[in-house]
């Protein structure tokens, strides 16, 4: 998990559309993770992800786990670019409109102590 800086996250006023765009995310590529001794190579990621609510309402809650999320199932798209300086490998995805996610959700959530306030 990471802190999203100002300007990288946009959410529409009605809460039904959102996007996150980050550049220069230094990451470790470790395909054998979570193997204890998995080799790691530094890589850099740049991405944009978008969510758009559908008309399907969704509520996920579990009182025992102290959470309640309400919103909509969402469509989601991803554009990404990966750069591996040590090998010179670079890869860029096609236009964001050509990607899709099998699952998406957008809405609001309340959990933990806020469930009892």
């Amino acid at each position: 998990m990471t802190v999203i800086p100002d300007g990288a996250l946009t959410v529409s006023a009605d809460g039904r559309h959102a996007s996150v765009e980050l550049h220069g995310v230094d990451v470790i590529d470790q395909p054998q993770w979570p193997a204890h001794d998995a080799a790691a190579t530094p890589a850099r990621l740049r991405f944009r992800i978008e969510w758009d609510a559908t008309d399907e309402r969704a509520t996920y809650d579990d009182p025992a786990k102290l959470f309640r999320a309400t919103g909509w199932r969402a469509t989601s798209r991803l554009w990404a670019s990966v750069d591996v300086p040590s090998t010179g490998f670079q890869w860029t995805s096609d236009a964001i409109e050509t990607s899709h996610a099998a699952f998406g959700f957008i809405g609001t959530e309340i959990n933990g102590r806020y469930m009892t306030l």
């Binding site: 996250l9 980050l22 395909p31 190579t41 010179g88 899709h100 996610a101 959700f105 959530e109």
Partner: protein
Amino acid sequence: MAKFFDPLANSSSRRDFLRTGLGTVAGVASLASLQGCASAIASGAATPLEPARNRPIEALAAIDVPNGGADPIPIPWLDRNGSQNQSPGPGMEPSNIFHFRGQVARSNDFAGMGTDNTGRRIAFGAKSTDFSFMSGEYFAGRQSRRGAFGHI
């Protein structure tokens, strides 16, 4: 994994990396940032002239240390494998942080195509290609705070 990044590697190896590894790349970054490992996430700040860059969540732990730090509390029952994350889906809790109220979005299991720097067409996406954001109020270090966080 070096084989997936080796410029001499065949296309099927790279294809395998991108199918399984794009999620892994981000997942490992998340793991590093949460576990306090040598984080690979660079510091940076957004300005009108500069694209937004993320900040390590550890930076928040150094704020208000006497009260326990300003970094958000993970979901308590997601600690078993150390990733403090679970795959999104119907019925699953969207947030990665506890004592939170605000806006959330999650998605996973992406599919798409791309091109490497040699012109090869390579698909990306897997069930573990998992993104989310949480933006709102959270409780940490004995007080309510505001912030925006992402699982990438």
